[in-house]
């Protein structure tokens, strides 16, 4: 029976009625020699016949009307009442138009509530060209930056050419 294992797949398709001609020929040759497999095939065919022969059942006449009523109730959701007359393509178009309208209104409201800032004079905001430039603009810039090193004088000393040069020599 160990040698019969390779025929199990063919027995399955044979019982299902889906075996190829070559498989059928191969199996028949085997069944002539193997009584156990022949018996298995016959019994499996009977099983299939019994299952396939079960009578078709008829649902109660109330099933179809009950399903239809539930389908109608499901169809009348609030969204479908609102857009009930629209076909899917029309519904999608309406949704796109509505979204575009919402975006336009949103952008308009934002622009109205956020006017563009006025341009400041360049001297009052520009950074100094050189770190050592001790101009009024530099002082104002450093002040605006609120550096945490300490006073404005300390800042100025920190960035002085002498201090930078010493630092570059590792002193």
């Amino acid at each position: 029976m160990d040698g019969c294992r390779e025929y199990q797949t063919i027995i399955g398709t044979y019982v299902d009625g889906t075996a190829s001609e070559a498989e059928v020929a191969l199996l028949r040759a085997h069944l002539e020699e193997c009584a156990a497999c022949a018996r298995e095939v016959r019994e499996l065919l009977r099983v299939r016949g019994l299952v396939s022969g079960l009578p078709t059942l008829r649902p109660s006449p109330s099933l179809a009307p009950a399903v239809a009523a539930r389908l109608r109730a499901q169809r009348l959701s609030w969204l479908e009442r609102l857009f009930g007359g629209l076909r899917p393509a029309e519904f999608r178009l309406a949704a796109v138009v509505a979204m575009a309208l919402i975006v336009c209104i949103g952008v308009g409201v934002f622009v109205v509530n956020h006017p563009r800032p006025t341009v400041q004079p360049a001297a009052s905001v520009a950074a100094p060209v050189g770190a050592t430039a001790a101009t009024g603009a530099t002082d104002e810039y450093l002040q605006s930056c609120r550096l945490s090193h300490g006073t404005l004088d300390q800042d100025r000393a920190y960035w002085s050419p002498d201090a930078v040069q010493l630092a570059s020599y590792g002193q």
Binding site: G12, D16, E40, L50, V51, G53, P55, P59, V67
Partner: protein, 174 residues
């Protein structure tokens, strides 16, 4: 149209999972309602029947697993069924048989039904879809989202298990 065309087929499939008329009708309603809700997701890659069976099978198998029940809930196939409008006959062929033969047929059908209900949900699904609903391997693979080989092996295992369960009716006297 959806209801008229498919409710009977879905009902027959659901019955093999549920084992009772009432539950099979509930499952049928759920399956058709869910299909209706999801109709836009049906892309036509599968046939509509396969798509609907997939929904119905999932609902039926889920219900079966939720219930945690593997024992059969058996009712005699030739007994009339009580519904809202009164008893309903089943479509059991009868006119050509004498009473004794009919009783034997009904008894055998009941045993086969009982055996099917003892199968695990996985095995039951393939045998119901193949033998009772007439789906092909490919359609079952699509319905249950299984590889083709798995469908074949499960079908073979289901038949082998049924052969054991129906031994008194199929075994040859040696």
């Amino acid at each position: 149209m959806l209801v008229d065309t498919y409710s009977k087929r879905v009902f027959n499939m659901a019955y093999q999972f549920a084992g009772s008329f009432e539950e099979a009708e509930d499952l049928t309603q759920d399956a058709i309602l869910r299909a209706h809700r999801a109709i836009r997701s049906f892309r036509g890659g599968a046939t509509f029947q396969t798509w609907l069976y997939r929904i119905a099978t999932n609902i039926a198998v889920d219900a079966l697993r939720r219930r945690g029940r593997h024992e059969a809930k058996v009712s005699s196939l030739d007994d009339p069924v009580q519904a809202d409008q009164g008893p309903i006959a089943r479509e059991v062929p009868d006119t050509q048989h004498d009473p004794q033969e009919l009783a034997e047929t009904a008894e055998l059908s009941q045993q086969v039904q009982k055996a099917i209900e003892q199968l695990s949900p996985k095995l039951r699904a393939v045998v119901v879809l193949f033998d009772l609903q007439g789906l092909t391997y490919e359609e079952i693979a699509d319905t249950l989202r299984l590889p083709l080989g798995t469908v074949k092996s499960r079908l073979f295992n289901a038949r082998t298990r049924l052969r054991e369960l129906l031994q008194p009716y199929v075994a040859e006297v040696v």
